[in-house]
């Protein structure tokens, strides 16, 4: 589903990604962990071209994202993204957030878009909040609306950039619950997060990134219980202490 090869990303003198390869199979859930500044968010953002890699290639669902002839806005409908800070549109209702791209990008009529939007909000357990503005919702509810906004476009892949990091602990569960049900529906997912319990239960593969490279990868049990590299061990023991 995703083939990323030799991804480099430089911001001026800063070399954030130093040749990352990432293949994700259909229906696979890949977890990316690593210290801050390791390049994991940048890597994720290269997968829908929010960041343009300095070198390398990114193919998602058969579409070459770095080919200048690619209709990027069309491709992005197939790649849903969820952000750490939700990034809901504060001047629109939950339903408005979910339906904007349906109407403006997918070309649906307002009635069609509203129907799909209501269904998407129901999937994240917020059918009754359709008319609420983001400011009237809790953080967990906002993040679920953000997930609904992405899944309403029926993406082939979902990217999650630290989806629970900005949430109070008691609100994390509701978001993870939605992610789990997405997982069960067969969605291909790439998740940058430190929710180890969720990773253990749901991930097919865990990647440990450090200093712009993938240091180690494998099934969650292996990475969390028997990491091979010292850097991985150090990082795992650090986040387990919290």
């Amino acid at each position: 589903m995703i083939q990323a090869k030799g991804i480099h990303k430089q911001f001026g003198a800063l070399h954030v990604l130093k040749g990352v390869d990432l293949d994700v199979a259909e229906r696979e859930l890949v977890f990316i962990i690593g210290p801050s500044g390791s390049g994991k968010s940048t890597m994720l953002r290269c997968l829908n071209r929010l960041e343009v890699p300095t070198a390398g290639s990114v193919v998602v669902d058969g579409i070459d994202l770095l080919d200048p002839r690619t209709d990027l806005n069309h491709a992005r409908q197939r790649i849903g993204m969820v952000f750490q800070s939700f990034n809901l549109y504060p001047h629109m209702t939950a339903l408005g957030n979910v339906t904007l791209a349906l109407r403006k990008v997918a070309g649906k009529s307002r009635a069609e878009a509203d129907e799909i939007g209501h269904a998407a909000l129901a999937r994240v357990g917020l059918a009754e909040r359709a008319d609420h503005r983001p400011g009237q919702l809790s953080g967990g509810q906002q993040q679920r609306v953000a997930i609904a906004r992405a899944i309403a476009l029926e993406p082939r892949v979902m990217l999650f950039d630290e989806p629970t990091s900005a949430l109070d602990p008691e609100l994390v569960g509701s978001v993870l619950g939605v992610m789990r049900s997405l997982r069960e529906s067969g969605m291909t997912m790439v998740v940058v997060s430190h929710e180890m319990g969720f990773a253990r239960a749901a991930a097919d593969r865990v990647l440990f990134m450090d200093d712009g490279l993938i240091v180690e990868q494998g099934p969650p049990a292996q990475i969390f219980e028997a990491p091979v590299h010292a850097r991985t061990r150090g990082f795992i023991s650090q986040i387990q202490r919290h």
Binding site: L50, R76, L100
Partner: protein
């Protein structure tokens, strides 16, 4: 005192003249406010282009017309340009002067609004496939305008007051008409009347502005 400044007989005589002036002030405002807003929006949108070939000329333009007193600009257009064979007429001169002057002010206000919108908003919009332009129209501008609504309104108040400058190019707006009535009646009552009319016209806007500003403080 009352006979000098609040003379009822003179008031009755001057009233139709003042009213015609009010009509012209309103018409002028309805021309220059949208013109200034359109010019300001164009400048603000241009400022979102990061190219130095756009930024520097834009900055020079905005600085120049914010520093150039609008009255001087207006008189230059009206009384200066005819020496170069260009006679534009009072109405056109007012339109151009206000477009240049208030456009620069509105432009700065709107630019601040656009810059206040979090970058994550644009990223979220782009990640769902919206184009740059669609993100600007549906996500950035609505939030930008909301953020600077008090400043836009405050600027608009200033612009409506500035329309009295049109009197110097003999456009029969409120102030000009009041001065006409004053010289016809040899009495300052029409000026007082004009002041009252300005106040009645602008006071609701001032109230609205206070409420918006209070709400902005409360939201903080």
């Amino acid at each position: 005192m009352i006979d000098t400044f609040f003379n009822a007989t003179i008031m009755a005589q001057a009233w139709p003249i003042i009213l015609a002036g009010l009509g012209n002030t309103l018409a002028l405002s309805l021309m220059v406010v949208p013109l200034g807003l359109a010019g300001g929006m164009a400048l603000a949108l241009l400022s979102t282009l990061r190219s130095p070939w756009v930024r520097w000329p834009l900055m020079a333009w905005v600085d120049f017309f914010r520093a150039f007193p609008p009255l001087v600009l207006l008189i230059f257009l009206y009384a200066g340009l005819p020496f170069a064979g260009l006679e534009l007429g009072g109405f056109a001169c007012v339109g151009i002067a206000f477009f240049l002057n208030t456009g620069a002010y509105y432009g700065e206000v709107l630019r601040a609004g656009i810059e206040s919108v979090a970058p994550g908003q644009i990223e979220a919009a782009r990640s769902t496939g919206l184009t740059r332009l669609q993100a600007l129209i549906w996500i950035v501008l609505p939030q930008a305008v909301r953020a600077v609504l008090p400043d836009l309104l405050s600027n608009t108040l200033e612009v409506v007051k500035l329309t009295s400058l049109a009197s110097v190019v003999a456009l029969p707006e409120l102030l000009f008409q009041a001065r006409q009535a004053q010289s016809l009646t040899y009495n300052p009552t029409p000026i007082v009347a004009a002041a009252v009319v300005y106040f009645l016209l602008l006071w609701p806007l001032v109230r609205l502005l206070s409420r918006l500003e209070n709400r902005a403080v409360a939201a903080r």
